[in-house]
Amino acid sequence: MKIVIQCEAFDLGAEVDAMRRGRTGIGAIASFIGLARDCNEGSGVHAMTLEHYPGMTEKALAALVDEANSRWTLLDVTVIHRIGRLLPGDPIVLVAVASQHRGEAFAACEFIMDYLKTQAPFWKKEATPEGERWVDARASDDAAAARWNTP
């Protein structure tokens, strides 16, 4: 398991290769990268700054990876989230999940992203032609996370 908060870019290929190197029991690796877009809520976005809550961020990410491990049989998980200033097209977040079978890898990867969006203390501020603005939380992200609440 690897959880990292960093300013620098990450390398999806290197992260996934590190997961599978020397291992022959992994059948599936599902991965996700989220990228900064040039447009949001109808405005152009020329840059973005990501703030976080040092200490709580690591704790929150570890808790949600633990939760994923308790729900599915996973062989490895990597979560990397960038902070600081990012430009359109820059990768923001990476989640990669290794498992024996694809169903578990896909489910756990999407679960981690959905929970990260609502539980991990990151905040985005966008620079637009109309000035800087803090991004509002989305109801659709709450709905995506709520899907995983089994009755």
Partner: protein
């Protein structure tokens, strides 16, 4: 009781403070919010009933009725928008 209180993102900017130490006599997160509201101005505005903000105690998200332990690190921030 002594508390360390942190603010993030829009709330940090609006309050003009990232962190403060409080000597506080209430028992719960809700009591602390009422205390901060009583400062008026942006505090009353941003922490008003119906405003969306989150509270963490010792780096765990909590509901407003959560009790405040001695020397707690309390954080108040907007709903998160990472990922």
């Amino acid at each position: 009781m002594k508390l360390r209180v942190l603010y993030f993102a829009r709330l940090r900017e609006r309050f003009g403070v990232a962190e403060e130490t409080l000597d506080f006599s209430g028992a719960t997160a809700a009591d602390l919010v009422v205390h901060l509201q009583s400062r008026g101005d942006v505090w009353a505005e941003e922490l008003a009933a119906g405003k969306a903000f989150r509270v963490a105690i010792n780096q765990d998200l909590v509901a407003l009725d959560a009790r405040l332990p001695e020397h707690a690190e309390v954080a108040i921030f907007p709903p998160v928008t990472g990922g």
